[in-house]
Symmetry: C2
Subunit: 235 residues, 2 copies
């Protein structure tokens, strides 16, 4: 057991070969992250204004959601997917960010097979597709709702399993992957991941409703058309 007591992750006995402690503070890590989000937000607003300023308020918000979500998946989760076998040893910005986050979920340090699988799909399937979806919203593509369903169900279900696996480990095997402090469990683990439950659920519900509405109209038109044909035949 090479480095048992020298890291902040739970369960305390977890062995992490080559672990190097962070030298960035928590506020520095989140400061840079927040700055990047604000920059992306501003650029997306610009793009929105210059390409399609008549988007509804809801779609303006969802455009930002899919852009931010896409870059988070591709860059942050992509970094994890590519480097997951040596996360405890990494000291660049994203490596330190993941070590800070892992205080609420050590599975990112140990290469847990569910986390690696789910994050790889999220990074390289849902990530790029979020950006395509943002584009489809901007140009009002007929593929916008089918793709929104695909991506949002993917995000929702991945996050649901993310929470559920921790619940099962806790309830049935008494394993805790989060440090006990409220900041980590409630702030990082519950707080950050809740977005990918709530917003995709909203996207799924609205897309399903809009798709059903369009099919309703198409079916009633088909009905009228058929009635017209019958009438003309009679005449």
């Amino acid at each position: 057991m090479d480095s048992v007591p020298h890291h902040p992750f739970y369960p305390l006995g977890t062995s992490l070969t080559g672990y190097i402690a962070n030298d960035w503070s928590m506020s520095a890590i989140f400061g840079v992250f927040g700055g990047c989000l604000v920059t992306l937000f501003t650029l997306t607003r610009q793009l929105n204004q210059s390409l399609n300023p008549h988007l509804s308020r809801r779609d303006q918000a969802l455009l930002i959601w899919f852009v931010l979500s896409g870059f988070i998946h591709l860059i942050i989760e992509g970094y994890f997917s590519v480097n997951h076998t040596r996360m405890p040893t990494l000291t660049d910005y994203l490596g330190q960010g993941w070590k800070e986050y892992s205080k609420c979920d050590s599975r990112y340090m140990t290469g847990d097979s569910f986390i690696v699988s789910m994050e790889t799909v999220t990074a390289f399937a849902w990530g790029p597709l979020c950006l395509v979806e943002a584009w489809f919203i901007l140009i009002n593509s007929p593929w916008r709702h089918p793709l929104q369903m695909l991506v949002s169900v993917g995000q929702f279900y991945g996050d649901l399993l993310y929470f559920a696996t921790v619940l099962v480990e806790h309830a049935e095997k008494s394993v805790e992957y989060s440090r006990p402090e409220a900041l980590y469990f409630w702030g990082y683990f519950m707080g950050m991941n809740a977005f990918w439950i709530i917003i995709p659920a909203y996207c799924i519900a609205t897309s399903m409703k809009e798709i059903a509405e369009v099919f309703k109209v198409a079916q009633s038109q088909k009905g009228k058309l058929a009635a017209n044909v019958v009438e003309k035949k009679r005449a």
Copy 2:
């Protein structure tokens, strides 16, 4: 280590408290399973013929898919979800069935947290929704394609993660959950689960295409309508 060498599951050292060996043969287990599928198939065809005989061939096939899939999720995977903490000890038909299947994946014997989470969602969300979807196909509901997207993405992604977690465990931790015989790995593990990759992928692709087509038509009609209004105003 209570019962190490007395069970057929891999990895060989896995400890399974209270394991009881099957007394049903493999052919008896699959015979009953096959019989149930044939019965369900026949009843579904009957229902189809009496309620909506004009369904397209594709939709007739998908109706059967969603009925069989729904019952497999609800009954077989529901049984696992409810009993997952004591699977090695169960000797009723479904218990013996799961012990036979687990020769290709021992995670069903050990209450693996990903398997428990994924199977619980599959059993109690995708299962009932498959049956609702079958009904929506039968009555040609406008909700048919939105629900088909939801259920099929759920099935596809769950199964993708099912395969991916085994791949990660094998490639990175040299853990084998399947017995080495081809029957178990290729027949049970790959063969049985391939259905829930291939058919949901087909369902997702066709639903996305059909939804986009309907939106295209609706958009072009809106365009025509707008052009008419402009013309009338000019006149």
